[in-house]
């Protein structure tokens, strides 16, 4: 589905990603872990199309297309969804209105007719229930006055509404209490299918108790320094990152 090869990215001349290789196939869940400042969020931003980052080397192919050639909106239309680490508050723009616009622009891109209002409302009802998002929150201004947990649930609600092929969850778990975490993870799990995939970026192993990954990758200093099965997360929980950092240092 997505193939990242030797990806290098920098911001203001400062290299952040220094050669990422990663392939995600349909139906897979990949967790990316790593200490602060390792480049996890940069990877998410680069994939979603944030323009502040300069791609200095490497390629990203998504469903056979050169992703790096596409603007953020076209990446979304192709089926990439980024759940923001810090969802933006947009006063005066209603959640529902903006999602309707989003869905219809995506459909237009695919050469499809706008979604009938009835189907749209049905989907709103169904998907807001999935993340236990109050109906009134769904119709309020985007994230305005939402609690931290509500904002993250709103991200998953939007994800459910847009039904992407590849979801990138950027530290969706940070700052969540256990109930909110359970709701968010439950939403993600229910949306999982054989045709879509997720990249779950997290600082903590805790989330992976709820969203079980097929692969765990450790990102450190702009590179993936270790990959393994889900058990790797537990090992990291126990031992921290220092042993991997040392291993990496020895290799260099």
């Amino acid at each position: 589905m997505i193939k990242i090869e030797n990806l290098h990215a920098s911001i203001d001349g400062q290299p952040i990603l220094k050669g990422i290789n990663l392939e995600v196939k349909p139906g897979e869940v990949h967790a990316i872990m790593g200490p602060n400042g390792s480049g996890k969020s940069t990877l998410a931003s680069v994939l979603a199309g944030r323009e502040e980052y300069e791609i200095t080397e490497g390629s990203v192919t998504f469903e056979g297309k050169d992703l790096l050639e596409l603007g953020a909106e076209d990446r979304a239309r192709e089926g990439i969804f980024l759940a923001f680490q810090y969802p933006v508050e947009i006063p005066g723009v209603s959640n529902i209105n903006f999602l309707k616009t989003a869905i219809n622009e995506i459909r237009k891109y695919k050469g499809e007719e706008p979604m009938p209002a009835k189907d749209f409302l049905k989907r709103v009802k169904e998907k807001s229930a999935l993340v236990e998002l109050d109906n009134s929150l769904a119709s309020r201004s985007v994230n305005e006055g939402f609690s931290g947990g509500e904002k993250k649930r709103n991200e998953i609600f939007q994800m459910a509404m847009l039904d992407p092929k590849l979801s990138i969850l950027d530290e969706t778990d940070s700052g969540l209490d256990i109930d909110a975490l359970r709701i968010v993870a439950n939403g993600v799990n229910k949306l999982k299918s054989a045709d879509n995939a997720s990249i779950v970026i997290t600082h903590y192993q805790r989330l992976l108790d709820y969203i079980v990954p097929d692969f765990v990758h450790v990102l450190y200093n702009g590179k993936i320094i270790k990959s393994g099965p889900k058990e790797l997360a537990l090992e990291l929980e126990e031992k921290g990152y220092d042993w991997l950092k040392k291993e990496e240092a020895l290799e260099v």
């Binding site: 953020a72 909106e73 969802p87 933006v88 006063p91 209105n97």
Partner: protein, 430 residues
Amino acid sequence: MSEIATMNVKDQFLSTFGVQDFHFDTAASKAARDEATKRIEGLDFPTSKTEYWKYTRINRILKAEYTIAESAANIDITPFLIKGMENNILVFVNGFYRSDLSTITDQKGVIACPLSEAKKKHAKLFASYFSKKVPVDEIFANINTAFHQDGAFIHIEKKQKADHPIHIINLIDGDQIITNPRNLIIGEAFSEGKVVTSYHNLNGRKSFTNAVNECFAAENSFLEFNKLQEENGTSFHIATDQVQQEKSGNFTINTFTFNGDIVRNNLNIAVAGENGYTSLNGFYLPKAKQLVDNHTRVDHLVPHCESHELYRGVIDDKATAVFNGKVMVHRDAQKTNAFQANNNVLLSDDATINSKPELEIYADDVKCSHGSTVGQLDEEAIFYLKARGLSEDSAIRLLLNAFAADVLQHIGIETFRQLIEEKIETGLKK
């Protein structure tokens, strides 16, 4: 030397009006004209040194040549109609009333007719209200009083509700047309009514509209007055909006400016009766090298009143907007609640806003606030929307419509609100 030069500009400017025929005038109307003419003699046009006009240079307005010309053209007014308001329209072309284009649905207790007709037919009302509160020291308002051709006269009787909103349509047909449209709107005690006045160019260049709108809102009346200014990019527009609000009244004025080379609005509201509620709002969207200047003044003269002011603008290209809002809480006006906000979005590096909110408070038990913001669109928000599949254009439009929505909610005529929404949408399309 410069004095002579100034005088020449003034004389030359005023000489345009010498040819008008006011055969319909009554003694009261003539007296008002004569008084204003006398005052004009002692007044000069403002210069950039005049604080009240600091940011609006009017030289270009004064130095242009104008003509007064009636138009009998066969005009299709459908583009200017507002849905649901087609049966209550007063149409003026180049300042002259066009009965053939106007339609008024009769309603008992509601008068909507040209001012020229009201002068005789409703002489008593005219004499008691006309030009009673217009500022005596403003030269443009005096010019209108002295040389106005026509305008709308709207009167709603005591305890009457005007069933339909009334639409005053002002059209310009021809080059360098000057008009002094004069509207007089009176809501008697416990009355209710809504009015829209709109200004458009059919064609032509460099017209100058020098408008005066007088509104009298009696005790416990509910009045809403909307202004839509969308002449063309070469036209000039100076307006004086004078509002007198009595006890327990509820008055709303909304000003929307979409086009015009130079547009200046002088809005003065005297809150003269206790327990009044005043709402004054505006939205402006200047582009190219246009200038929109909103000067507002609310005088809280008595206790226990509330005023809410919200002006917002989106300024593009090399355009300039000016906001100067003064709220004056007089000594006796205890327990006043006065709130004022002006928010601006600059879409280009060359766009300018001069915003000056002013509060002057002479009472000691009041609740007042004012604030002014200038900013660009939130880049984070645009990225967020794009990351959901919206194009950059849609994202920007969504944000700007949201920005305007807080102003638009004060429009009480649903179809007019939709029209303004559409105009904002169109105005934002490049």
